[in-house]
Assembly symmetry: C2
DNA sequence: GTCTATATGACGATAGAC
DNA sequence: GTCTATCGTCATATAGAC
């Protein structure tokens, strides 16, 4: 173990991580072309210019690769939604209820948009399309994290008055996921080639969010006219 | 062409239909065990006690079999929902709004229940899990029929006062399908082994229907207290 | 209509040389 | 780490005997 043993290890490690990342990206690319269940290791290797067995230096099995895709998908989605959804952290009352509602819609929209625009990931993350594969606990972790942070965000929305004080946050968040999963699922199943902005189902998302907020929100107030 | 040519033809025809039906049923059974995309013709033949090539006397390809499953699924679902959802056809005003709401909930429930309790069909009908397969126009017909009848039912619900007079029925029905597809999809993806009655997501369906009716229904009226 | 036999090819995965 | 070679399995589909 010379003086540069550690740096060498790091460099090798970094290179390895890059290769792993490339395998996952190519896999996602191919899943987009042939469907999540249509992935083949031969195709992955071919597109990378290597041989199939070389992949086994990085993944123990095909399902391990699916696991990496699943995990990376949730990480990307989490990043994407977090970036687009930053609640103004200033004094609570400076943010009007309408503004909060817009933040909620923005969060729902960025989530659904990511799903529709990344159908390969979405199939694996929101459905169960691959026989014999189900995500490991480790791969699930980022998904759980998204959920946890979602409930926390709901808590804040409640404290700031967008949701009624007496709502069950866990239940409300679950219903929230049903709405978004429903939109993504219907769009991808029935009209996968439509863009998010023009989608038959995605265009209804603002209404669904309004529906949700009317139900879980506080005031009886003035009636929407449409 | 003897006098019994027609009966003989009929008998043969009937026998053939029975075999086709059996193939489809076995296929659904296996899809339930290995996932929709995990279906293999060898397994189908084995379970029927015949050889794989014999299947080609009834279906031109594996995708043709998927098509038959898809079509039969929508037919069964349509029958199931129709049986459970018979709007009282008497004088309109004899049926209270609460009763109409219960009918709507019953329809949603029977639909979602069928999906959750027939996951093999549901995967194929609501998702796109099989690489290279997409339903033919013929297979889609019963699905379109369900949709058409759904919109008609919504029309009646509007005429009877459960929905506001100015709602866009097509849009409302689409949102309705999003809610139900969302429930089925979330339940099957995240907790496929839970029963419909105890399902984490299915249990929220009544709330979703209430949410929907509050949004698309008429009266501002008294506020729900939960 | 159902069978045997077979064509043809892909797949995931492993062994062992370099 | 990547390769060649290969194992064993399974797939869809066809040809032709019975």
């Amino acid at each position: 173990m010379g003086i540069d043993a550690a740096p060498t290890t790091d460099r090798r490690h970094r290179r390895r991580e890059e290769t792993i990342r490339e395998i996952v990206d190519v896999a996602v690319e191919l899943m987009g072309e042939h469907g999540a269940a249509g992935l083949s290791l031969g195709d992955v290797a071919r597109r990378m210019g290597i041989r199939t067995p070389s992949l086994y230096g990085y993944f123990d099995s095909k399902n391990a690769l699916y696991d990496a895709v699943f995990e990376q998908g949730w990480r990307q989605l989490a990043d994407d939604v977090t970036v687009r959804w930053a609640l103004p952290a200033d004094e609570s009352r400076r943010v009007s209820r309408d503004e909060l509602a817009e933040f909620a819609l923005a969060a729902a929209t960025s989530f659904a948009r990511w799903g529709v625009e990344h159908p390969a990931y979405a199939q694996l993350m929101f459905w169960r399309p691959v026989p014999g594969y189900e995500p490991s606990a480790a791969a699930y972790a980022p998904a759980v994290d998204v959920s946890t942070r979602g409930v926390k965000a709901f808590e804040e929305l409640r404290d700031r008055g967008l949701l009624r004080a007496d709502v069950d946050l866990g239940e409300a968040f679950r219903q929230w996921t049903v709405l978004i999963a429903g939109v993504v699922s219907q769009q991808l199943s029935n009209a996968p080639h439509e863009s998010f902005d023009d989608g038959t189902f995605t265009r209804g998302l603002p209404q669904l969010v309004a529906m949700f907020l009317q139900f879980y929100g506080p005031a009886p107030r003035a009636r929407r006219t449409r």
